[in-house]
Amino acid sequence: MSGLRSTGAGAARGVTAMSDRPADVRIRDFGEVDIGLSTDEAINEAARCLQCKRPLCVRGCPVGIDIPAFIREVAEGNFPAAARALKEQNMLPAICGRVCPQETQCEGVCILGNRDAPIRIGAIERFVADWERANGPDLPEVAKPTGRRVAVVGSGPAGLTAAAELARAGHAVTIFESLHEAGGVLTYGIPAFRLPKDVVKAEIDQVLALGARLKKNHVVGRSIGVDELLSYDAVFLATGAGLPAFMGIPGENLNGVYSANEFLTRVNLMHAEAFPEFDTPVLHAARVAVIGGGNVAMDAARVARRLGAKVFLIYRRGEEEMPARRAEVVHAKEEGIEFYTCANPVRILGDQHVTGIECVKMALCGIDASGRRSPKPIEGSEFTLDVDMVIQAIGTSPNPLLVSLIPGLERGRKGNVIVDENGRTSIPHVYAAGDIVTGAATVIEAMGSAKRAAAAIDAMLKGE
């Protein structure tokens, strides 16, 4: 059956083709790789939807968008109504349409996937959101002010989602953000070629238009005391998992070794690719090794490629085990990233600056606790790659800065905040959601858990 699910087979049945710019063109800039659907393509693709009575796709969506409803409006060419239907459940559709792993969510369970290809729900969602941005957004209604104050800490996907929900419910929301731009990982992490920054800004502006106040440059726990924070009627913690892990191998502090967070922040947030027009520098290297197999590793590798480097991606397991979205792995390969799978760095070589990386080949053994085959080094299989930059994208964990300052806040072993199914922490009026709870996960999972927490906060504030 798998052959029937390929784009090629689907295309014969009227599925719209992918809309990526050619790899040799797109690696010369930071413009968006996928140019999106045209109006006709969106309408045609939407018209394929079977309008299931009991749609599986809705259950596959972490924020529960009424997918058949907005798709029906698109099929009829009624884009304002489609946008309204979408925003009933999701205030950040232009972002979700681009970065959600639809293949494991809504599209993964679409009934059409059994026959030829699932409806391209993400592409249609993105089309509607982009159409609305171009034609002037129509804001949802905001309830009467309740007089209750809510502090939202962090302006990433979870913080923005909760802020939008709570502002719509009439609460006075203040978002505290430590950086000089809102958006969290949407702004500093995901590169513009996957998620253009004007798209992020426009969706943040819509959240603020609902009445949420944004205080940038405010590090809670430093610029705002914990007592002041806890004086709000409700507190929502969404500080993410921004603390980068390092491997702890020799040579890690040589010049030319970056965490993916630093490398991506320099480019995405500080625009170091445009140095010296922008003041923040980033090293340029001829040959770069990126360590890791997740989306962050793909992003870092593809940014390095766009800065002109030959890029090697080193991952300790096999390609099937890579946590990155399949589409991003394909994109990376199309762009000339060379993959070294089943290989693990043992040390970084160099005197002051990186000159190479020594790796060992890995054999994949029995299934480990994560359900994946666990890699073991093969003795004597060491090999060296000549590189002048190393980027480590081996994961992040919750930043302990704020949560360690809140007395009585229960935390797990990895520094994550412990919550119940409604996002309630061990402190009655303090809630948390997103990566601060789960560790590094996806944008849409952060938004889904933030929505549930926001509903619980709203119920608490209304005394239900």
Partner: protein, 283 residues
């Protein structure tokens, strides 16, 4: 936007700015720093909070590159796009007995808040401030007012003791017991000076100055090796036990962007020449 309330030149290439930033001023403690970004195209640079007055904070900086050169062109009434802070852990202040606070060059800027909090905690506070020459010596009156004793050193002997802060420190250690020492200055000065306290086994703090981006612990640009472990200076520091710090690695990492820094500064200098002296402004 954050308004510059007062801008004064203290010495050759050294400036004192008071910036209105209530969220920073109201919470700042000795040893902490802020990060500022001048304008939309700017980089984020860390500067120590040197004093606080109501809703304003004082920073003292030396022009060493593009951003500090550009900052120095600003005047009272001008605005800075972003100021975030206070960042980093505050100094570990307690009643230790006799404490010595040492500042070298523009590092003297960091010494008054630490000396003041130590004094308020009941310590006998000895200050040592050192510069290359008398005209580069800053905050002498302020430190004299706070400290029980103040020693001045100049490399060229134009004021105070002819020599380095480490010479005075060595002499003090020979004569009496010091319970804690703070040293703030260029990395090489902190390395050399903190070496003096090793044989006396005196707990010595240095305030490290690695390259930073966010300053909130999310990137590791500022990572340093302390006692064999990787630490992030922005959240674990910036103050660390001097005897545990790998200063050579710190100095090596401070040079990562030397080439780019030169390009940026030359471009700025050229631009400023074309626009006339002090004419460069970003709105």
């Amino acid at each position: 936007m954050y308004k510059i309330e007062k801008a004064t030149k203290l010495a050759d290439r050294v400036y004192e700015f008071w910036i209105r930033a209530p969220h920073v001023a109201q919470h700042a403690r000795a040893g902490q720093f802020l990060i500022l970004r001048l304008h939309e195209a700017g980089e984020r640079i860390p500067l120590t909070i040197s004093a606080v007055r109501e809703d304003a904070v004082r920073v003292i900086f030396m022009t060493v590159g593009k951003t500090t050169e550009e900052l120095a062109t600003l005047r009272a009434g001008d605005r800075i796009t972003d100021v975030v802070g206070p960042l980093g852990k505050p100094s570990e202040i307690a009643n230790y007995g006799t404490c010595c606070v040492i500042g070298g060059g523009v590092g003297i800027a960091s010494t008054p808040p630490i000396a003041k909090e130590l004094k308020d905690a009941g310590n006998h506070v000895i200050g040592i401030i050192g510069a290359r020459s008398a005209d580069l010596l800053i905050l002498e009156d302020e430190m004299r007012e706070i400290c029980d004793e103040l020693y001045i050193t100049t490399d060229d002997g134009s004021k105070g003791v002819h020599g380095f802060a480490s010479d005075v420190l060595k002499k003090l250690l020979e004569e009496r017991t010091l319970d804690r020492v703070w040293i703030i200055g260029p990395a090489i000065m902190m390395k050399v000076t903190s070496g003096v306290t090793v044989p006396y086994n005196v707990k010595t703090y240095v305030s490290l100055n690695p390259i930073m981006v966010d300053g909130t612990g999310m990137c590791g640009s500022c990572r340093v090796t302390v006692g064999g472990e990787t630490k992030f200076a922005c959240v674990d520091g910036p103050e660390f036990d001097a005897h545990q710090v790998d200063f050579n690695e710190l100095m090596q990492r401070q040079r990562i962007y030397t080439a780019q820094e030169k390009v940026s500064l030359e471009r700025f200098a050229e631009h400023r020449c074309r626009c006339g002296e002090g004419g460069h402004r970003h709105e």
